[in-house]
Amino acid sequence: MIALSLNGVNKYFGKTQVLKDIDISIEDGEFVVFVGPSGCGKSTLLRIIAGLEDASSGSVSIAGQDVTYEAPSKRGIAMVFQSYALYPHLNVKGNMSLALKQEKQSKDVIEQRIAKAAQMLNLESYLNRFPSELSGGQRQRVAIGRAIVREPTLFLFDEPLSNLDAALRMNTRLEIANLHKQLATTMVYVTHDQTEAMTLADKIVVLRDGVVEQTGTPMELYNDPRNQFVAGFLGAPSMNFLPASVFNATDDRTLGVRPEDLFIDEAGPISAQVNHVEQLGGDTNLIVRMDERQLTLRLFGQHHIAEDSRIRLNFANEKAYYFDANGNRA
């Protein structure tokens, strides 16, 4: 069944078009991540799905119902915000129960749902605390709890991890992934962080300047990017791009090689100078200069390579991607 479908959604702010003819359809139970650089329209798109922003044209339907003109609370959605958006004057329990009280649910139902959500998120001992007495990670869990108790048909996450520090971000990411397994509800997740997109998504939608660049599973996008933007956006460190003319004077395409597909080879065609070595323990990243171009090379394990030394690099041709002048795969 289709949980969410967007048909020809356009959005203008004044004269600027921020979303251009967006068509997306999401299957029931899928975890879909909208990813793109800031300003690409992904948050606006999420707000249109939530009903917090009106589409200038096009329609939104959730679980088969056209909800283009419905109020946010009537759409069967729950949303988790980047800034947590907890009500500062209500305690954790009050925050989680407000929507249910608004729906006129019975006391028993409210109690039971809060207990269930609190147990799921390890919030039982914090129910009477106020948001100001919680740490960032706890606040984010309360925000998620507030979404869970409503038992929505669609969860919307607006960059929920970007206010957390790196260690907490990874834990919360795992929690969200587990939550999705437990609840099996459709989730739409917006982020600018490609790692979150790759690790969480069943399906990634890459957006740029209000246009869907490509849609697919993380590995489809990684292995078969449709254009240079998608290729460069997914994967960290990001893909190296070189003019193919370096190797073949008549070739005017752009050549892309992922950092892990480059390797050191005495007989390789690329001569480069080591600029910087990043030792990560498990991996070693080499930042090298080839003429005026900077390339990144990812080696597994620990390597001791002197800075400023000259090395020669090679790559397997089947691992290379070619893009034409417009950035499309060629």
Binding site: S73, M79, A85, Y87
Partner: protein, 266 residues
């Protein structure tokens, strides 16, 4: 730094201090030694007796209280509502409307006294407390809208949107989410408006000079004559008039301090 503040405090409080000490003295002592504290020889409650026996004092007090409290209530209510609309909704002319509402800060309402009086006469509101309340609401709204809309801009959009997703109506969002968060600003506005209203002599004198609608400030003037002024009574009346403002101020001031410093200290 502290020295300067203490000096300023002393200068600001000195007249109040002189009023209060002299209100407890005999008439002769007020003139002979205006700066000395009341002692056994000069102590007298004659001023307070006169004021309280005059009988109308409580009625004046009540009028002042009604006018101040009702005006404040509506200034805060309408001011906050207008500020919410201006800061929250995008509609054509939003900016101009905000500017128009703020314009009142720069134009003193007293310029329009004659027109206001004519208006009150033709609507039959002269010598009613309603006349005063209406004028004070008009006088207080510009600053209230200006201050409150600045503060409401700072209430995070995510919070209001979260409430919308949770199914709260715009009115519930306003009363249950936004108002509690701008409470310090509300207290600031309340204090800024309360004192001029309580102390005002101009509009009570012009719009409601009748005995039944006299306010405390106006009522105290009966003791000031053209030839003889009953200083004991004037000073006692003024001392008592300070009290309620002081009490209200103490109530609001905890909030007020947060209102003025919020954002500076997170």
């Amino acid at each position: 730094m502290h020295g300067a503040l203490i000096l300023y405090t002393l200068i600001a409080l000195f007249p109040v201090f002189v009023i209060v000490i002299n209100s407890f003295k005999k008439r002769k002592s007020i003139f002979r030694e205006p700066l000395s504290l009341p002692d056994a020889g000069s102590f007298s409650l004659v001023g307070y007796e006169t004021v309280l026996k005059q009988g109308e004092f409580f009625s004046y007090f009540q009028n002042s209280m009604i006018v101040t409290v009702v005006s404040l209530f509506f200034i805060l209510l309408f001011g906050a509502m207008a500020a919410f609309a201006l800061s929250e909704y995008r509609f054509p002319g939003n900016k101009w409307m905000g500017l128009y509402l703020a314009l009142g800060i720069m134009i003193p309402i007293r310029i329009g006294t004659v027109a206001i009086l004519e208006l009150m006469v033709s609507t039959g509101l002269v010598n009613t407390l309603t006349a005063l309340i209406l004028v004070y609401i008009a006088q207080g709204l510009p600053l209230a809208v200006f201050i409150l809309s600045e503060f409401m801009h700072q209430v995070s959009d995510d919070l209001k949107n979260a409430a919308r997703v949770d199914g709260l109506s715009e009115y519930t969002i306003f009363f249950r989410i936004v108002l509690p968060l701008v409470r310090p600003a509300m207290a600031t506005v309340a204090v800024f408006n309360m004192i001029p209203i309580w102390n005002d002599l101009w509009f009570p004198l012009i719009l409601a000079p009748a005995e039944a609608t006299k306010t405390l400030t106006l009522g105290s003037q009966v003791f000031i004559g053209q030839y003889v002024t009953n200083w004991n009574a004037v000073l006692s009346a003024l001392s008592m008039a300070i009290l309620p403002v002081l009490i209200l101020y103490v109530i609001f001031s905890r909030q007020l301090i947060r209102g003025i410093t919020s954002g500076a200290v997170k």
